[in-house]
Amino acid sequence: MNLELQKINGYSVLFVHEERIDAHNSGELKTYLLHLIEQGQIQIVVQLEGVRFIDSSGLGALLSGHKNAITKSGKLALVNVQKQVLSMFELTRLNRVFEIYANVDEALNNDT
């Protein structure tokens, strides 16, 4: 899986350079997020600009990261979520669970 991590203003910004997140690569995404959080990187932004397809296991991997970050008083926000991918979050009401921003800048500025 093609993942790129950048540290920006204390945030761990994870760029997912895959067109598709499904049961074939979601396990890798989940494990990667768990490792980040174990290392204490608990302010996470996942950039999904290139992702045009996500299945239930992909949503599950992101939810797992979100839950684990929260347990350690951190958080996991999503940015640049494409239209069709966003509609999967809406169908499952997960758009009420994740903080979703237009892009990385907005996510970093909207921190409370």
Partner: protein, 150 residues
């Protein structure tokens, strides 16, 4: 449109790397057919998702990722309906007993069949001695105008 008959039958090894192939196939079929769907891109996405979820279930739950096994998927378009069948040779399960996810307590798993039921028009799981089949139907008609029985 009534004459538009497409049948695709695919057998793949039970490996998740083939999910993309199956999903894309569904997506591309929708892009080629004439449908009344207001938004073809959305229907194409939904078919990609539904095929991915149903095939992933056959791989994960029925065959436990045993790479020697195979899964059969049939996509047939006829009489203004898309008919999908995903066959498995596992122990089977009770589709009626699978509930919708609890949206107030989101979980990592259990969203696959919810997507299939929500996005398609009819879903059934039939167990036979020869194996099981998840049968999914999506009508290619304007919203609200389901076909009358013929």
């Amino acid at each position: 449109m009534g004459a538009e008959i497409i049948q695709v039958d695919v057998i793949i090894p039970t490996q998740t790397k083939y999910l993309e192939l199956i999903g894309q196939l569904g997506e591309q079929i929708v892009q080629k057919i004439d449908t009344f769907a207001a938004d073809k891109d959305t229907l194409a996405y939904h078919l990609n998702l539904v095929l991915t979820e149903a095939t992933a279930n056959a791989i994960k739950h029925a065959h436990h990722n045993n790479p020697e096994d195979t899964v059969k998927i049939a996509i047939h378009i006829q009489d203004d309906a898309i008919n999908i069948k995903v066959y498995d040779h596992g122990p089977g399960f009770d589709l009626q007993a699978v509930l919708s996810p609890d949206f107030d307590q989101p979980k990592e798993h259990g969203m696959g069949l919810f997507f299939i039921r929500t996005l398609m028009d009819s879903v059934a799981y039939i167990r036979t001695e020869d194996g099981n089949v998840l049968e999914i139907i999506k009508y290619l008609r304007p919203t609200g105008a389901k076909p009358t029985c013929s």
